[in-house]
């Protein structure tokens, strides 16, 4: 076990660049794919950039005196970035220390927590219901994510997020853990059918309802960044164990791994978009019931892992 914290400047640069540029682009792809499934032309790929650029240029309304209302979006964005810094980019890991998996887990949850804080800082009923729903979602999904990561950590024998994929062995329980991780990442990202907290038709945008202008831009950005983080986590866990051989063999190997990670993300996003387009939204109780069932399943997987399969 490593005791010291290591910081990679190159990793930070790569991480910042990716997290800063990629999320709107991916969203643009998703929108385009959805449009095509619906027989439409759809927006330009860069549309989400335009949207965000506009939002950042607009002033925000302040519907409440509560200062958390203003802080929450930045908190969410900061949390999303912090989580991103714990992930490996090719061979480079921006920040690495033992036990960072726990930090990652918490920081990721902080994004949701910040959104919930923002939602509850206003008097708006829709916002409050949205916050309530977000909370139920977080409470029911995070355990699954936790268990899945726990299984990986247990199998790999390390508590460092970037080290796990390098060490995780192939076994029956890890395969199941992968499935759990995919499910948890998908649900946690709030894709349809899990976009319950932001449901426009039910609660007029839910948690986002009172935000406008720059704050809305920041919040939207945070949500998109969080999706990227989760997806990057998934792609890391799929890529690095396979390319373990070349991952640490110098710059070229690192770049190859990074490219594969990136391609995986770029491929996964349209698939998710297609899945989103062909599904309806769950009702919150249905989603929670499903999550609970999966969680119970995940405990079984944990037991399997503990047995040593």
């Amino acid at each position: 076990m490593m005791k010291t914290m290591s910081i990679s400047v190159l990793g930070i640069i790569v991480g910042v660049v990716l997290v800063a540029i990629l999320p709107p682009f991916l969203d643009g792809i998703a929108r385009k794919v959805k449009a095509r499934i619906q027989y439409r032309v759809g927006p330009p790929i860069l549309q989400t950039y335009y949207d965000l650029q506009k939002l950042f240029g607009l002033p925000s309304l302040r519907p409440t005196e509560n200062k958390w209302f203003r802080v929450a979006p930045y908190l969410a964005l900061a949390s999303a970035f912090s989580a991103a810094f714990l992930l490996p980019y090719g061979k480079w890991v921006p920040v690495k220390f033992s036990g960072d998996i726990v930090v990652f887990f918490y920081v990721l949850a902080m994004v949701s927590v910040a959104i919930i804080i923002g939602a509850f800082s206003t008097q708006n009923a829709h916002s409050n219901i949205g916050g309530h729903r977000e909370m139920m979602m977080v409470l029911s999904v995070e355990p699954i994510l936790g268990v899945a990561l726990g299984i990986f950590a247990f199998k790999a024998g390390t508590l460092s997020l970037s080290a796990i994929p390098l060490k995780v062995p192939a076994s029956f329980s890890t395969v199941l853990a992968y499935l759990l991780l995919i499910y948890a990442a998908y649900a946690e990202s709030g894709f349809v059918p899990f976009d319950i907290a932001e449901a426009e038709t039910e609660i007029a945008g839910g948690v986002l309802v009172e935000y406008s202008g720059r704050l809305l831009g920041v919040l939207e950005y945070a949500i998109l960044a969080k999706r990227l983080v989760l997806l990057w986590l998934l792609s890391t866990f799929l890529t690095i164990p396979i390319l373990r051989g070349i991952a640490l063999t110098g710059v070229v190997g690192g770049i190859v791994v990074l490219a594969v990670q990136l391609i995986l993300v770029l491929v996964a996003y349209p698939l998710i978009a297609a899945l989103e387009a062909t599904n309806a939204r769950y009702r919150i109780d249905q989603a929670v019931a499903l999550n609970t069932r999966i969680f119970l399943l995940s405990l079984v997987v944990l037991a399997v892992a503990a047995v040593g399969w």
């Binding site: 449009a35 506009k54 240029g57 202008g213």
Partner: protein, 263 residues
């Protein structure tokens, strides 16, 4: 607004007492055939996120406060207001109903020209129509985005400047008008003019012949054989009968009447 604002406009839709027609057309604009998302236009669920407000309906007294509140809930910039439909543009057919809001009593020309959303909010774009088709709404939106120029300009004519010539027809004007009126019964107001045109052409030709009645019958029969549409055939036959009926009627009644009158 910078360039980005023109590439991304989020709209919120408000109904100020409309009949639904325009609302549905606004929604219809979102569907695959028109897809305004190409231009970065997105319908949002809350006025907080909106750059533009699409208002439909004649602005009822009950809706007025709600619409005003929605407007105030929008971010202070750019606050574009688009009046969609004839009702929103100037009150439409409902303009003087008792529950329709008017900011002040209006008389004369004012009463006839104003109404709708402009009583409450400053309007940036009027899209009249009842309801305006999605293309018409798209055209208005494209103007906002700077993709299109407006086409309309006020038109003013006086009878002295324009050349007026009473159109001359091969048949008597009064019979033409009567035929035109009765053609409404057979083929409807929309198609009647073209059918009548065809008939008058034939009738004019027949009138030059020695025996107009027979000639007309022959010509109508010829038309009958050529034309594929059963309704046009039917109306042509009808016109032939009606034409002679009117002619004879006039001969019998009016000429007699005039004679008695003169005496």
């Amino acid at each position: 607004m910078g360039k980005a604002a023109l590439k991304s406009v989020w709209v919120f839709h408000v109904d100020s007492g409309s009949c639904n027609g325009c609302d549905i057309e606004v929604l219809d604009m979102l569907t695959p055939y028109y897809d305004p998302e190409r231009f970065g236009i997105k319908l949002v669920g809350t006025p907080r996120h909106a750059d533009a407000l699409l208002v439909t309906g004649p602005m009822t007294r009950q809706c007025r406060r709600g619409v005003q509140k929605v407007y105030e809930a929008m971010p202070p910039k750019p606050r574009i207001v688009v009046a969609v439909g004839s009702c929103a543009s100037s009150g439409g057919i409902f303009y003087d109903g008792y529950p329709i809001y008017r900011s002040k009593d209006r008389f004369g020309r004012d009463r006839l020209r104003s109404g709708g959303v402009e009583e409450v909010l400053p309007v940036d774009m009027y899209i009249p129509g009842c309801p305006p088709s999605p293309e018409a709404i798209l055209f208005g939106v494209a103007q906002l985005l700077g993709l299109k120029e407006k086409k309309m300009k006020g038109e003013y004519y006086t009878d002295k400047e324009t050349e007026f010539k009473l159109p001359q027809y091969p048949i008597e004007e009064r019979i033409r008008l009567s035929l035109r009126e009765s053609l409404k019964k057979v083929i409807g107001y929309f198609d009647r003019d073209r059918v009548l045109e065809d008939f008058m052409e034939i009738a004019g030709e027949a009138n030059r012949a020695e025996n107009p009645k027979e000639k007309l019958h022959a010509l109508v029969t010829g038309y009958f054989l050529q034309e594929k549409d059963s309704r046009l055939k039917f109306s042509m036959k009808f016109l032939e009968n009606e034409y002679w009926r009117l002619k004879d009627d006039y001969e019998n009644k009016y000429v007699a009447l005039v004679e008695t009158h003169v005496q």
